[in-house]
Amino acid sequence: MTQDNHSGRPQGRPPEGDGRVSRVEASLRGPFLLFFVSAVVWLLAASVLGVIAALDLGSLQGGVFRDCPWFTPGRVAAAQQGLFVYGWGFNAFFALNLWLLSQLGRFEFRNGWLAQLGGVAWNLALTYGVVRVFAGELSGFRLLDFPREVGPVLAVAFLLAGFWPIVAFARRPTGHTFASQWFVVGASFAFPLFYLLAQLLVLWQPASGVVQAIAHSWFVANLLQLWFGASALAAIYYFLPKVLERTLTGYYLAPVAFWTFFLFAGWTGPAALVGSPVPLWLQSTGVVAAAMMLIPVIIIAINVHGTLFTQGGWTRAWNDTTLRFVSFGAAAFTLAGLLGGVFAFRAPSALVRFTSFGAGLEQLLVYGCATMVLFGASYFVLPRLTGALWPSAKLVHVHFWATALGFVGALVAWLVGGWQTGQLLADPAVAYADVLRAESSWFFMLTISAVLLLVGHVAFALNAFGMILKSSAPAASGRHD
């Protein structure tokens, strides 16, 4: 543990000589890089599949992958979601959450090999699962699509790879805690619970009838909010004050935000089942919970946007690579919360039900918020861990603009296209073929967006891998560029 815990620890430019990377960070390097590199590899694979999925949709009846058993639209969609969520989303947050809580708790990671073991097991199980999905052995439940034997392996791997932030929190030297720590501890503790329960009731001992759908909706809400949402919030709460060098506005409200976020999020699942054959009280409970989520969303907006809107926060955020991504993510979180609350209600929900709107809302949280925050965090953390520079500023710009434009384009297609499709669907006078024709006009935009995202991710990967290779080439010494 370094002695200079108030301000002296070299963070930006390491001084000459030894100890340029703090001991806390040096102890993290192995596991962090393993998680990070696998995350980026999965991200690239998922982006390629995203392009294939978009092409599949855009030319359902023809196209390159016509009649190819591995690339039916259903299988590609399942594999793409699986890789993006469990490959990129989990590996990247393993890395970031571990780094974050080690920093905040000044935790020196002595059992890195255990985390690496977990990471390897996680990635092997994931590879196996995706291959089986391509081979046609998917479960039919979105985000639980891997064959059921993958579930327990992922759960054990999570305990090895993803539980260390809790250890870091438990061993922190000071009594004080910070919002980021609560959110990460919550996310890391909640995931194995709801993942195993969902595995049990959906795949291993399926509940009877539509209870499967209820359990599945509960799982999806938990996964999106309590893993992606909470982990992303932890990073937002950390990087804003850290980079802007000021305290969060209304920070004393943060505990309320944390508890209301966790206590309401798990109830929102059945809001996705409005109109479905599940009892009315379940649907209405989901609607109420989704609306109650506005409380944490508003408080978090006070904390986050309050900070960004004072003293030229946005301008500074815009001029800082990390904050540019992170504040994009913060805005996406607020938007996702507001839209989620409004579109849970019966009438608007009925209108957009079964359209691409739901996918748009979900991506707003998983990509717009969590992924963009992860990108921003990478720009902050990697130079400190590797002691190297990002090789190309140009690639950073390509990364931001390609992902931001690609995502906004896809979001418009999902939300506006979904709204439009919903209105056509609601009118029985419009033939189904015409509905489909109107919807398919958005597929072109989705394809362009998927390509843009791929370009952005390749730029990010080139930059990151170049940096990691450069830093590891001359071993531990001579890291001065």
Binding site: H6, G12, P279, T310
Partner: protein, 227 residues
């Protein structure tokens, strides 16, 4: 209060596209912990937010209660649709129509072993239902016989039987008994009024779970109507 966290770290050399550096993490935690502790101290311009949050909470809580009361379908397992007429748990059409065809099926399954499909019974053993004054007239008598059964001497159409009819109806639903009773009162030349399921429910509630009737007692409650 936003700027108390600025310190010398900020003018360190910057590096990389994201070179800006903030406060150390220990300081970040402590300053924010201080902020949390300070919340009770009155600070001008800041007192509105907690009140706003409290109101927000109360408002949401109140609304949630109202919404759930109105939109939860009584927390019933069989309410799926807000606009649908209230469904009945456990079956039974909302509007009951006694159905002779269903009554016949149920009769064949439950009664015909003794009373025979012809309704004529078995001479010397089981009394007939066809043209029997027992099944015509007051529906209570017939319903009670089906629900609780009969045991003892019984005279039907001038012939005496030693009756021992089990409480067949106890295992049947109200609507099924109504179908059977309607069938019995309208088949084989009988001309009774149909029986509604609500009437059966009423009688079932009135007699509860009782033993078989002695025919003479039943006649005291509901004497045979003489034409």
């Amino acid at each position: 209060m936003n700027d108390r966290n600025r310190h010398s770290d900020s003018n360190r050399p910057r590096r990389g596209p994201s070179g800006s550096e903030g406060p150390s993490d220990g300081r970040l935690v402590e300053v924010h912990a201080q902020l949390s502790r300070d919340k009770d101290e009155p600070a001008e311009g800041f007192s509105l937010t907690p009140i706003f949050i409290v109101f927000l909470f109360c408002g949401f809580g109140f609304w949630a209660g109202v919404y759930l009361t109105k939109n939860a379908g009584g927390f019933s397992a069989s309410a799926f649709d807000l606009d649908a007429p209230k469904a009945v748990v456990g079956g039974g059409p909302v509007v009951f129509e006694p159905d002779v065809a269903k009554g016949e099926q149920l009769f064949l399954a439950n009664c015909a072993a003794c009373h025979q499909a012809t309704g004529l019974g078995v001479p010397g053993a089981f009394p007939p239902l066809a043209k029997s004054a027992w099944v015509a007239g007051a529906e209570d008598r017939l319903i009670k016989a089906i629900l609780a059964g009969l045991a003892g001497e019984i005279e039907v159409n001038g012939v005496k039987y030693n009756g021992n009819m089990p409480n067949i109806g106890a295992g049947l639903k109200d609507a099924q008994i109504a179908h059977i009773a309607t069938y019995v009162r309208q088949a084989w030349g009988n001309t009774g009024e149909p029986v509604m399921d609500t009437k059966v429910a009423e009688v079932r509630k009135a007699i509860g779970n009782r033993a078989q009737y002695v025919p003479a007692d039943l006649l005291k409650e509901h004497p045979l109507e003489t034409k």
